[in-house]
């Protein structure tokens, strides 16, 4: 006799999904007594990887990011040519001479893309770190001191947030003159406010919390309660934001360079490489490869940021 219930169970079993991050979170809510099998060592290691990355795509993303980071460190030394040398025939299509072809000045595209990784990724990391620091600091001050200090800081934050970002960055870059460092400064001007907001809202929340209040009752100074009670609680969310911000920063910086407000020639920078490829659109390799470089870097870091958020902020991905 066929058990109809089993039939349904089988049908449901067939539609069972791939293992997913949510399953992780769920399981801990269930009594441990029912958890089968001791975990093997490989499984333990597996579990060290943020859940979001524990899938083929996640691994690919992590590998891409890792590859780019390695390229950042060793880039120029593994490049087949000097990224600035104009020795090769111009507009050589991708092939044996130059794997990714050469540009309008006869420079090797691959070498330039490899050298550009250091510029784009390095500066994006720098930008994110700076905006994180500045934003968090202002957010801490605003949240902790409340009243007019906080009000002033938050009104200023509003001001920057209400500004059309690109235009503000454009004007800033124009005012400071085109250079990579100035592009970072210009991007910084528009990148810190989110951190200030988030940190402030966390601090405001914590301030209501009893343990900080009790700390203050015990006579701890504000600096101490900031360090002991508040700072540690903001680190997680801020880091998550920052990790998600790296891709954004790369896009913003390459966008500024695309507009001619970032990297100065002949610095190999992906955005300006795409920009100069516009005029030679029928030499497809000139635009496609730098664009793909930007895309892969941004995707990889966004994916990792996503995974980090899932791991550190189970609240968002709560089941």
């Amino acid at each position: 006799m066929t058990n109809p219930g089993q039939a349904k169970a089988q049908a449901k079993a067939q539609t069972k999904a791939q293992q997913c991050p949510q399953a992780q979170a769920q399981e801990s809510a269930q009594p441990r007594a029912q958890m089968a099998n001791r975990r093997s060592l490989t499984r333990r290691i597996w579990r060290l990887i943020p859940p979001g990355l524990r899938q083929p795509l996640g691994i690919v993303a992590a590998l891409i990011a890792l590859t780019w980071l390695v390229i950042c460190l060793v880039g120029p030394s593994i490049a087949p040519y000097d990224p600035l040398a104009q020795d090769l025939p111009r507009f050589t299509p991708p092939g044996s001479v130059a794997w990714l072809g050469t540009d309008e000045l006869g420079r090797d595209l691959l070498s330039r893309i490899l050298a550009g990784a250091r510029v784009t990724i390095g500066l994006s990391l720098l930008l994110v770190c700076l905006s994180m620091l500045i934003g968090s600091l202002l957010g801490l001050l605003a949240g902790f001191f409340g009243r007019w200090v906080g009000e002033t800081i938050m009104r200023f934050t509003d001001l920057v947030l209400a500004f059309p970002t690109v235009i503000l960055a454009m004007v800033t870059a124009a005012a400071l003159g085109a250079s990579l460092f100035n592009a970072v400064l210009a991007a910084l001007v528009v990148s810190w406010p989110p951190y200030a907001r988030v940190v402030r809202s966390i601090v405001m929340g914590l301030r209501e919390n009893e343990f900080v209040a009790s700390g203050r009752l015990l006579g701890f100074s504000s600096v101490r309660s900031m360090r002991v009670d508040i700072l540690p609680n903001t680190v997680g969310p801020v880091l998550v934001m920052a990790s998600l911000d790296i891709g954004t920063a790369a896009l913003l910086l390459s966008g500024l360079s695309f507009l001619g407000l970032g990297a100065k020639p002949p610095t190999p920078e992906w955005g300006s490489m795409v920009s100069s490829a516009v005029a030679h659109f029928d030499k497809w390799w000139l635009g496609v490869f730098p664009g793909l470089a930007i895309l892969t870097v941004v995707i990889a870091f966004n994916f990792i940021g996503d995974a980090l958020r899932d791991a550190l902020d189970p609240g968002v991905e709560k089941s």
Partner: protein, 531 residues
């Protein structure tokens, strides 16, 4: 013109990529109609260019796009034939001059009328020229020092203090276009700086040219329609001319796809890879791209030394630059471009000599120092990308021991440092104001451009003497000799390094005829015909 109907209908429904992809599966045939033949029998031509335009008031405009439009909207007293840049011919007037080229008598051609039908008289000509002088606008300098007088209804006289052999050529520039004085005055026009007719003239053309203005949007397009009252020699072919503001890369796509008939802004590289179905008129333009090396030791001790100038002049591989510039480009043999009287032959051009350059560079103390090469990066003289050129120059100079940092900046920012003579090394270009070599004399010591290189009066008496001869010598052969001597001396001793004349590339559909490049107005749209 293409008939957009088919494509449009296929696309309307498309909200996103999916629909777009689906729609594309339909066949692509039947898209190209013959140029100039849209369905209703009227002919239309689309000209793509990169807009550089603020106004089309002839007495105010002085940008390339404005020149193209004003040329079509306003006739001038004198002009040049489409395929000739040396001989002035009559248009609204004929002229005679006295022997020392200080007095020019112009007699108005009988019967010519403005687009509203009013006859053109000497009053209109005098008003137009005096207005050009009086507005103190960008092109006002063209008639500086010229006295304009009415003689009778159909005659006027132009008088100058010094011999002005270039004046007829000046009168042929679009800025000297003749406006309907009555109409312009009714709309705020005057011959002083209080004139307020610009707004009117940006919406309505008040001239006698082959076309009248239908619409002008300085950001996107200008539409011209045939002037039915036109009774001059240059009968227009197309009923409508549309001049569109388009990025060079897009221009190339458009002209290859037949969405435009003429593209004016293609670079040499783009032209090299142009599809076979497009014709190209490719000649060296009259634009000279040059390096300025500041002779003011307050700006840089190194660049001020003559050894350094010599090192740069020898250190640049001019052929290597031409490779970058692509089709149509030529080495600038001197500051005067090849189309003008007095241009130098290739034997007199600067030569690449790496060894000499290296020696000179060492002597100048430049080796081991970092200098700055400034240039505008948002402007491409006739399609040449200055950034690419600067990168090539940087690389070439580096091979002879001169290291420069590139300092690109938007034109608007950099122009200030350039004009104030603050650049160590500048990469700039010069478009002729009118078709006469005299406008290159500005590069002389103490002259307007010379000062930008920190080259004051008294720096080089020999050249200064040639400059004043250049302004005043009337006789054609004598002029040629003066300019050739001036050019050679400039090549040898000036702080300017003439680099190249980028190609002027006009790409056009085979259906279009009458495409000629002109150094001042680039292209005469009224001369375009159907092949």
């Amino acid at each position: 013109m293409i008939s957009p109907k088919n494509k449009m209908f296929r696309l309307t429904g498309a909200l996103g990529a999916a629909a777009l992809l689906l729609s594309g599966c339909a066949d692509n045939g039947n898209e190209d109609g013959a140029a100039g033949e849209p369905g209703d029998g009227a002919t239309q031509i689309v000209v793509d260019t990169t807009f550089d335009i603020k106004t089309i008031d002839p007495a105010r405009e002085y940008e390339p796009t404005g020149q193209i439009l004003v040329k079509a909207l306003y006739d001038t007293l004198l002009t040049f034939a489409d395929d000739d840049t040396t001989t002035v011919i009559p248009d609204l007037a004929t002229f005679e001059s006295n022997s020392d080229q200080t007095e020019f008598t112009l007699t108005m051609t009988e019967g010519r009328v403005f687009s509203d039908g009013a006859p053109i008289t000497a009053d209109d000509a005098v008003f137009s020229l005096q207005r050009l002088q009086g507005l103190e606008g960008n092109p006002s300098f063209l008639l500086a020092g010229v006295q304009v007088e009415k003689v009778d209804e159909m005659t006027l006289k132009l008088v100058t203090d010094v011999p002005s052999p270039s004046l007829p050529a000046v009168l042929a520039t679009p800025s000297c276009g003749i406006v309907n004085s009555k109409l312009v005055q009714e709309n705020g026009g005057s011959t002083s700086a209080t004139d307020s007719a610009e707004e009117f003239l940006n919406e309505t053309s008040a001239g006698s040219g082959p076309y009248i203005l239908e619409k002008l949007d300085t950001a996107s397009e200008a539409i011209l329609v045939k002037n039915d009252k036109y009774n001059g020699p240059q009968k227009p072919t197309y009923d409508t001319v549309i001049l569109r503001n388009t990025e060079p890369a897009t221009q190339k796509m458009n002209v290859e796809r037949g969405d435009s008939q003429v593209a004016l802004g293609l670079s040499g590289d783009m032209v090299d890879s142009l599809a076979d179905n497009v014709n190209v008129e490719s000649v060296p333009s009259a634009t000279v791209v040059f390096l300025l090396i500041n002779a003011d030791s307050a700006i840089s001790e190194i660049t001020a030394s003559s050894e350094f100038v010599r090192a740069v002049k020898n250190g640049i591989n001019y052929d290597g630059l031409l490779e970058i510039a692509g089709r149509g480009a030529a080495q600038a043999t001197g500051l005067v471009p090849s189309v003008f009287l007095g241009a130098l032959g290739s034997a007199d051009a600067l030569k690449y000599d790496a060894a000499a350059a290296r020696t000179a560079a060492e002597a100048s103390g430049a080796v081991g120092q970092k200098l700055t090469l400034s240039f505008p990066n948002d402007i491409d003289p006739t399609g040449l990308n200055l950034t690419t050129l600067a990168e090539r120059i940087q690389s070439q100079l580096s091979q002879v021991g001169i290291e420069v940092d590139l300092a690109p900046a938007p034109f608007a920012t950099e122009i200030d440092a350039y004009r104030d003579g603050k650049e160590q090394i500048g990469l700039w270009y010069w478009n002729p104001d009118y078709m006469d070599p005299a406008n290159y004399l500005a590069f002389g010591p103490g002259q307007s451009v010379g000062l930008r290189a920190g080259w004051p009066e008294g720096s080089n008496p020999a050249i200064e003497a040639l400059v004043s001869q250049g302004y005043t010598t009337g006789d054609l052969d004598a002029r040629r000799t003066v300019f050739e001597n001036w050019g050679k001396a400039m090549n040898a001793d000036s702080p300017f390094v003439p680099l190249l004349q980028p190609g002027s590339n006009v790409a056009y559909q085979p259906s279009v005829s009458g495409v000629y490049y002109n150094p001042v107005w680039l292209i005469n749209v009224a001369g375009l015909g159907i092949a």
